[in-house]
């Protein structure tokens, strides 16, 4: 009996400490807003996080996933921005959170949302069509130098990640490409395998199906080092056999697209800490590792402060590049 009382006293003494540690908890269903249509990269990202949170019971409230992909994701960001102070809404996106306001008239500024976490980085590769006369990125550049404005480069959307990278390549090696914007990276991949365009700069997951079927070949990856070796994708090659673009003489150190989460402005510190911690736990599960491997991304967690600094620097870089291209919106 005395023992029980003692235990109770200890528990009672510990309670405030426990309460302090778990200071903030969601009290209503949490909305995961996806700044992209159903089935896209950001959608799969959000739904994977959802399934992991549910599986490991990382949150006491249910999750509702909403797709708001209108206007290249503007719909989702505006929706979350207008819910300022609401700690039960967050938006899943990419670098379009800070890049889109630079080039298009949209209803939010990049610092009006609160960065919570970046959970993965999607790689970019230079792909070429089947039966292309060039066999390497170096030969591709040489061919483009000989025929300025003739080599066709396809990509998703205009003034978005794909065209940005294309313009960076042009600037880095002094060539001129013909950029053709499509609705999605998937569409660009199909155009590549039909040999209607010469090249594209898709993410691994967007083009791997074509690569497996011999309908498109990777030339190089825009990364500091080669991709991790996995099982072979085709009979002869795996991801790690692809040279980096720097090796191939395209001086672009690295180009990656983060998969990140934002909350509205003015949310309580405790809420921010709670979700950041939750996403950190998600990023440490085997299911997450599986998702990263299946989509050939790089798993890398960034907390709120780190992500904020990253965005500030990246936005500055983007602004400079867009200034040169004359893309900045008034």
């Amino acid at each position: 009996m005395r023992k029980i009382v003692a235990v109770l006293i200890v528990v009672a003494a510990l309670l405030p400490v426990a309460a302090l540690a778990a200071a903030w908890q969601p009290t209503r269903p949490v909305e995961f807003v996806v700044a992209a249509g159903a089935g896209g990269g950001s959608d799969i990202f959000a739904r994977t996080v959802q399934s992991i949170v549910v599986k490991y019971k990382l949150m006491p409230q249910p999750i509702v996933v909403l797709n708001k992909g209108g206007g290249s994701g503007a719909e989702g960001f505006v929706y979350v921005k207008s819910a300022a102070g609401d700690p039960h809404k967050m938006v899943f996106g990419t670098n379009n959170e800070w890049m889109l306001p630079l080039v298009a008239k949209v209803g939010w500024k990049y610092d009006e949302l609160t960065p919570v976490a970046a959970m993965a980085f999607d790689e970019f590769l230079l792909w070429t069509r089947p039966n292309a006369p060039w066999k390497s990125a170096a030969e591709y550049v040489a061919a483009a130098k000989k025929r300025p404005g003739e080599i066709r480069m396809g990509g998703s959307q205009s003034k978005d990640t794909d065209e940005t990278l294309t313009r960076m390549i042009e600037k880095a090696v002094g060539i001129k490409l013909m950029y053709i914007p499509f609705k999605s990276g998937g569409e660009a991949a199909v155009q590549l395998s039909g040999e209607h365009i010469d090249s594209n700069v898709n993410n691994p997951a967007e083009n791997v199906g074509q690569w497996k079927g011999g309908k498109g070949t990777p030339l190089c990856v825009f990364s500091k080092s080669r991709l991790p070796a996995g099982p072979k994708v085709t009979a002869t090659m795996g991801w790690s056999d692809i040279p980096t673009c720097k090796e191939q003489g395209i001086p672009i150190e690295e180009y990656k697209m983060p998969r990140d989460v934002f909350m509205p402005g003015g949310v309580p510190e405790g809420a921010l800490a709670f979700y950041a911690q939750m996403f950190k736990k998600v990023s440490e599960t085997p299911e997450w590792a599986d998702y990263i491997a299946k989509t050939s991304q790089t798993g890398q967690y960034m907390g709120p402060a780190e992500l904020k600094a990253f965005i500030k620097a990246d936005e500055e870089r983007g602004r400079q590049l867009f200034q040169e291209q004359g893309w900045l919106v008034k």
Binding site: G40, L66, A74, A104, K105, Q157, E163, P181, H196, W327
Partner: protein, 509 residues
């Protein structure tokens, strides 16, 4: 061609297990349910079911999800016919003849005809997929923006040019559709167009919101005004014998069935998609069918034209989705995301890499569509009975269904108000004899046509002769232009005949 047969048989052995058949029935049932509720629809339904499938084996998972998709297509036709509310964009053309039939007390016949025609379209689509899979994939690969543009023009040409009514009013309707479609992000230039600084417009205007207003709400207004106060419930015969009679009448429409199925498969494999297929099929039917003059007044062949093409396109579109990773509808885009999560890579290699999955899916399409037709037919008396309720109860309920539908499209307050605005526009348009269908077609294809044209211009550095640079695109665009010119030719022909020939004895034929 026939070397696919053993693969298909193997597929059947995988797909046809009691467990999978049960999944099909669950999927079809849920599909009909989400299809009946406008706005929720197939893409949302499949998205919601997706997390459940993560632990399943891919064959069972895709069977569940595709069954839901087929079910939703059937359910979408139901509301189109009974209440003039298209549950899916692809069932807009179903309202043209389906709803007049229901209003004339032929709801049972209309629903039955629609379901059987859908079943035929699906079967035709699957057979084509089975026999021509590798050829069709190679064919689809030949489509660059140049060919896309030609196909879209063909769809416009075959629908718009064959319509009647005031051409100037049709032009206004087309113009409105085009301008609404171009609101929001412009793919080719990356700028926000026609938003006038409103955040609400930056996401564009959703087709379903427009359609629920233009058809659903506008139709309600019309009904309310037509017979003051108490609208009499429509007398509908409900006996199963009525269903059977309608089924037995189907073979009479064999020409319409075959023609529409072919158009559907063509639009499913080329990038047109199901919605454009229904319009094109309806337009061609109106021009070339003997019953064409009665289209739009409750003619079963009109209903057959749109429904058959819809399902044929939906099934055939599975091919570019699996073999190229190219989604031709919103639902296909969601399914593609699912493939990735199940660890499959859509693309040319999928057929060689995972024949069990591909052929399991194709085999399941035969079975699940049979399940669909049977389950849908059993619901006919139930749904037709709804029309017997007094209209001052069903009317308000339809209003609620429209508003809920508008909300579920994008969880957005403004959509609810917009449905109302479009309802008013639709009411005035139909009262003043402005055709509404060209507007919808322009919204479906408008921005894709503009994109394809501008992409082609980038490729060609501004020369429009690129559309005749290869036989495929050249043929399609020439046929499309002929379609546009056809009304002019017929008018000239009539004029010439009147000039040089004595007037016919009796007017008409």
């Amino acid at each position: 061609m026939l070397d696919n047969l053993p693969l298909l048989l193997n597929g059947f052995s995988l797909a046809v297990s009691p467990y999978n058949i049960m999944l099909m029935m669950v999927g079809v049932f849920l599909g009909i349910l989400v299809g009946v509720l406008p706005g929720l629809g197939a893409p949302n339904g499949v998205t919601l079911l997706m997390p459940l499938t993560f632990g399943m084996n891919p064959v069972s998972a895709i069977i569940l999800l595709t069954s839901m998709y087929w079910g939703a297509l059937y359910g979408g036709s139901t509301t189109s016919i009974l209440f003039n509310i298209p549950g899916e964009p692809s069932s807009v053309a179903t309202t043209f003849d389906g709803h007049p039939m229901a209003k004339a007390g032929r709801a049972t016949e209309a629903l039955t005809t629609a379901f059987v025609a859908s079943g035929f379209g699906a079967l035709f689509g699957v057979v084509v997929v089975t026999i021509l899979s590798s050829w069709a994939t190679r064919f689809a690969l030949r489509f660059s923006p140049v060919e896309y543009f030609s196909v879209f023009m063909l769809a416009f040409g075959s629908f718009v040019a064959f319509g009647g009514g005031s051409p100037i009013k049709a032009l206004v309707s087309l113009g409105l559709g085009f301008s609404w479609a171009s609101i929001g992000m412009d793919t080719v230039s990356g700028s926000m167009r026609l938003t006038y600084g409103f955040n609400e417009l930056s996401r564009g205007i959703n087709l379903l919101v427009v359609v629920i207003g233009l058809y659903g709400i506008a139709e309600l207004c019309q009904t309310m005004q037509a017979s003051p106060g108490t609208v009499q419930p429509v007398a509908t015969r409900l006996s199963p014998r009525e269903v059977l009679r309608a089924v037995l009448a189907m073979p009479r429409y064999w020409i319409a069935l075959l023609r529409s199925a072919c158009i559907g498969v063509w639009m499913g494999i080329t990038p047109g998609g199901p919605t454009a297929a229904t319009f094109m099929s309806y337009g061609v039917g109106r021009r070339f069918s003997k019953a064409g003059a009665r289209f739009g007044t409750g003619e079963p062949q009109g209903l057959v034209s749109s429904e058959t093409a819809d399902q044929a396109a939906g099934s055939a579109a599975m091919l570019p989705m699996l073999a190229l990773g190219l989604p031709s509808s919103a639902t296909a885009a969601v399914l593609l995301g699912g493939l990735m999560i199940w660890g499959l890579t859509p693309g040319p290699a999928l057929f060689a890499e995972r024949p069990d999955f591909v052929w399991g899916l194709i085999a399941s399409m035969y079975v699940s569509n049979a399940v669909c037709v049977i389950m849908a037919l059993t619901t006919v008396p139930l749904f037709a009975a709804v029309l017997r309720a007094p209209f001052n109860i069903t009317g308000p309920l339809i209003v609620i269904v429209c508003l809920v539908g508008a909300w579920t499209v994008g969880s957005n307050r403004t959509d609810i108000a917009m449905v109302l605005a479009f309802g008013a526009v639709g009411y005035f348009m139909s009262r003043l004899d402005y055709p509404v269908a060209p507007l919808v077609l322009a919204m479906v294809l408008g921005d894709r046509t503009e994109d394809a044209f501008r992409q082609s211009m980038i490729l060609a550095k501004g020369s429009i002769w690129i559309f005749w640079s290869n036989p495929l695109a050249g043929t399609i665009i020439t046929v499309a232009l002929l379609c546009f010119a056809l009304p002019g030719f017929t008018a000239l022909w009539r004029l010439a005949r009147r000039q040089f020939l004595p007037p016919p004895v009796a007017s008409g034929r």
